[in-house]
């Protein structure tokens, strides 16, 4: 438990994936009583009985036959037992939640109790076996490991349950500078240019709701709302470091949320399309500057031409049929099926 807690704290083990046996109160009590009787009467636990049988102990073999009969009876009359078996379901609960104490305190007390129990049983064993003082003195002593174990759990009392940030995360100061500077943004024109030229480097990410996404989205865009950014399935997408991941929404807000979440967890090469779809459509179809195509100012002229061409291109739906396999390959996120680890005895 101590080891797991530390591994969880260090972020090497995801404790939420550990399977906790669900608690059915009645069956736990009834089963516990039967098992207790069985243990004491039979002198074996299921595991040891098989080992015992293998080395030729007759009582172990009888024990196994008995447990098979028990399994048969239970299986045969399961429908009768079912209300007891599934009665009073409490869910996947931990004892520290029911007691209302923190996990670290519970671990601390459990370790102390366990150590005292070990000590007492050792003392009782010594007294029963009537060991001489000499053998006790030459036996390895567990004093130092015990002390270190207590110290380790003691340290854990002063650590927070869950770490607030990880090493790979980007600090708030950098995020602040990026969002309030211009590093985080790409212009609508640049996105249009890249979409038009089917730039392989561009990955458009639609941060709006799936409903809005189904209604309309930019060509090749994938749908990922701001709170889905941290999903495990998307990690591979964000690890394609050389590609531009551009978040967009109707306006800037949802994209900003997605950007900050993604950047903080250390994903690089992510951007916000400045102004979102509203600005894009405004510049393409409302704020038409075609009169400037013959302007003497070179920049104005070329921008106006570019936007006119883009408008014609989009109105014709020029991109749609040319969507290729390659683009689709980005979309399917790898689904990491999370299988909880189920422990045995």
């Amino acid at each position: 438990m101590t080891g797991l807690m530390f591994l969880g704290y260090l972020g090497w083990v995801d404790l939420s994936l550990l399977y906790v046996n669900p608690t059915y109160l009645y069956s736990a009590i009834v089963g516990g009583v039967i098992m207790g009787f069985g243990f004491i009467l039979g002198g074996y636990c299921p595991g040891t009985s098989f080992v015992g049988a293998v080395i030729g102990k007759v009582d172990a073999m009888v024990f196994i036959v008995g447990s098979l009969i028990g399994i048969f009876i239970f299986g045969h009359f399961y429908s009768t037992f079912e209300p007891v078996y599934t009665g009073n379901f409490l869910g996947h609960i931990h004892i520290y939640d029911s007691l209302g104490i923190s996990k670290s305190w519970f671990a601390f007390m459990l370790v102390i109790v366990a150590l005292i129990a070990f000590m007492l049983t050792q003392m009782i064993e010594d007294r029963v076996n009537d060991l001489s003082a000499e053998t006790i003195a030459t036996r390895p002593s567990y004093r130092l490991p015990t002390l270190l174990l207590i110290a380790a759990v003691f340290i854990f009392l002063f650590l927070p349950e869950e770490r607030k940030s990880r090493m790979s995360e980007v600090s708030a100061e950098i995020l602040h500078d990026e969002v309030y500077g211009s590093d985080a943004y790409v212009s609508v024109q640049r996105v249009i240019y890249q979409v038009k030229n089917q730039d392989e480097k561009l990955i458009l990410i639609d941060t709006r709701s799936p409903k809005e996404y189904g209604h309309f989205s930019l060509p090749g865009a994938i749908n990922m709302t701001a709170q889905e950014v941290l999903n495990r399935g998307w990690r591979n997408l964000f690890r394609k470091d050389h590609r531009m991941k551009v978040f967009f929404g109707n306006g800037n807000s949802e994209a900003t949320k997605a950007y900050i979440t993604a950047r903080r967890s250390g994903y690089d090469n992510v951007f916000i399309m400045e102004g979102g779809l509203n600005k894009m459509f405004h510049e393409l179809f409302v704020d038409i500057k075609d009169d400037r195509i013959s302007s003497t100012n070179l920049q104005e002229r070329s921008t106006a031409r570019f936007m006119r061409d883009a408008r014609i291109f989009f109105l014709k739906g020029g991109i749609a049929p040319r969507e290729t396999e390659e683009r689709r390959m980005i979309e399917a996120p790898e689904q990491h099926e999370v299988i909880p680890v189920i422990g045995g005895c």
């Binding site: 600090s171 309030y180 109707n250």
Partner: protein, 200 residues
């Protein structure tokens, strides 16, 4: 001899644990809330709508909130929401504002543009403040729709709402139908974890 080995290995394990924990402490980025928690709160916190804001201002219950103006000091001096305090966005992470923000009141943010307030909200939530919401839109839209007479038509205004019926302009039909099939893998029917319950 056995005892010595036992002690050494125990000490080694202990040292590894202590070093790892110390390493984690040194390299942590001093955020007050984990990234997953911030992302969750960002999606949970609804905007403080103009309808709510209008009610707060008209019933004069604004002392229950800490209204923060994120614009520059100059624009703040020109005009601002009644009862607002000014924290320019470049000073947001400064330590000297911590005490004001820790006031146990819900914080309402507004800025020159909505997404700047959203960014500030995300940063403040990351610093560990719990109740931070934003007033949508820019200060101009707030003034138009709330201060200079409440406009019920825009009671739930947000600059993040679609202003166009997009498909009317751009014909991307082919993408659209494809898009639906693509959205599908995002929400997989959570498969029953087919783990084998073991036991002794």
């Amino acid at each position: 001899m056995i005892n010595q080995q036992l002690n050494y290995s125990a000490a080694l394990f202990f040292a590894i644990i202590v070093l790892a924990v110390a390493f984690c402490q040194v390299t942590s980025k001093r955020y007050g809330a984990s990234n997953a928690r911030v992302a969750e709160m960002l999606s949970d916190k609804p905007y403080f709508s103009y309808a709510d804001l209008h009610q707060v201002i008209s019933t004069d219950t604004k002392d229950q909130f800490l209204i923060v103006d994120l614009r520059s000091t100059i624009s703040f001096k020109k005009d601002h929401l009644p009862g607002a305090i000014n924290i320019p966005e470049e000073d947001l992470l400064n330590r000297n504002h911590r005490r004001t923000l820790k006031d146990k009141k819900p914080v309402l943010l507004y800025a020159a543009q909505e997404h700047r307030a959203v960014a500030a909200q995300a940063l403040l939530l990351g610093m560990g403040y719990e109740d931070v919401r934003i007033i949508p839109g820019s200060f101009e839209t707030i003034r138009e729709n709330v201060l200079e007479g409440f406009n019920p038509h825009n009671a739930f205004y947000s600059s993040d709402k679609a202003r166009f019926d997009f498909p009317r302009y751009m014909s991307v039909q082919a993408i659209q139908s494809e898009g639906e099939s693509r959205a599908a893998p995002l929400m997989p029917d959570a498969p029953e974890p087919n783990a084998i319950p073991g036991g002794c």
